[in-house]
Symmetry: C2
Subunit: 169 residues, 2 copies
């Protein structure tokens, strides 16, 4: 999948692995992430929510009926942190928590119509930025972008990402 190109000079081109190149990548990652979150942040602020709420909405939307434990693993936070966020989302009528059918200890989480509405607004703002970046960089760059990001994840997360990746929304 990852296309390695032999270097006519030294057998393999390693110039892209210098500390200078790596530093540029690190700074690009830092600055780009700021842009990545900027648009949803503005919308969230109008609703009195934070990034944690966005993340919860996103993954509940992605995996309808997911359990709290499942969500914890995806988000990488403690249940207390997530619970605080979920509580407000449920109280505000954006998320519905249903007792599990087969295992009634579990709670299955769903977005309400209002929750879907906010999720779409957040998601569309973020997609618009991504779309513009993708269009500017072109398909080949996008493929490389995804490859590097995937290689940068922790192993365990990469597996979760991969199983999520190939679902329908």
């Amino acid at each position: 999948m990852a296309e390695r190109r032999p270097n006519p000079i030294s057998g393999e081109n390693l110039l892209f692995l210098t500390d200078e190149q790596l530093r540029k990548g690190i700074e690009a990652m830092f600055f780009a992430y700021r842009g990545f979150t900027a648009d949803p942040d503005r919308i969230l602020e109008q609703h009195g929510y934070g990034r944690a709420h966005h993340r919860a909405l996103h993954f509940i939307n992605r995996t309808h009926g997911t359990t709290v434990n499942n969500l914890l693993a995806l988000l990488g936070v403690t249940k207390q942190s997530l619970n605080r966020v979920l509580r407000t989302l449920i109280a505000d009528g954006l998320v519905e928590s249903r007792v599990g059918r087969t295992d009634r200890r579990e709670r299955n989480l769903f977005l309400t119509e209002e929750g879907r509405k906010l999720e779409r607004a957040l998601s569309e703002a973020q997609r618009e930025r991504m779309r513009s970046a993708y269009r500017a960089a072109g398909p080949q760059a996008v493929a490389g972008f995804r490859q590097v990001l995937e290689a940068m994840m922790d192993d365990e997360i990469r597996h979760q990402y991969a199983s999520l990746r190939d679902r329908r929304s």
Copy 2:
């Protein structure tokens, strides 16, 4: 610079701009950023510092003698937030603050030997993850990665990134 490939089917390949593709990119960005910060975070914890300290150390190291105002613009936080972090770094002897030569209202910031030592440890941990990701993905993917990230930044930040990008460390 960005290589666009004509699509034999519709004149231009736009498959990479579907909502599905964009969503995958969004999730990849989220998960990758977690990995990106994981290694420095572990080191910082041992010293009782947080990410904010890492960012300050990084950019002071990058732009020796920078002023507080300059740093504020790069980090995108308020002076009160930055000041809290700087105060501890100065008190702990990692950062030195010298009165400006030409304008004595300004403070020029430098890393001490100890500051450089910690910065190197943090930086090396982060570079190691980046190096491994770059190596796995290959030079062409890395170029695409950088292109997409740059296109994702806010305009103002992109200019700062660019002027920083081409400096020597």
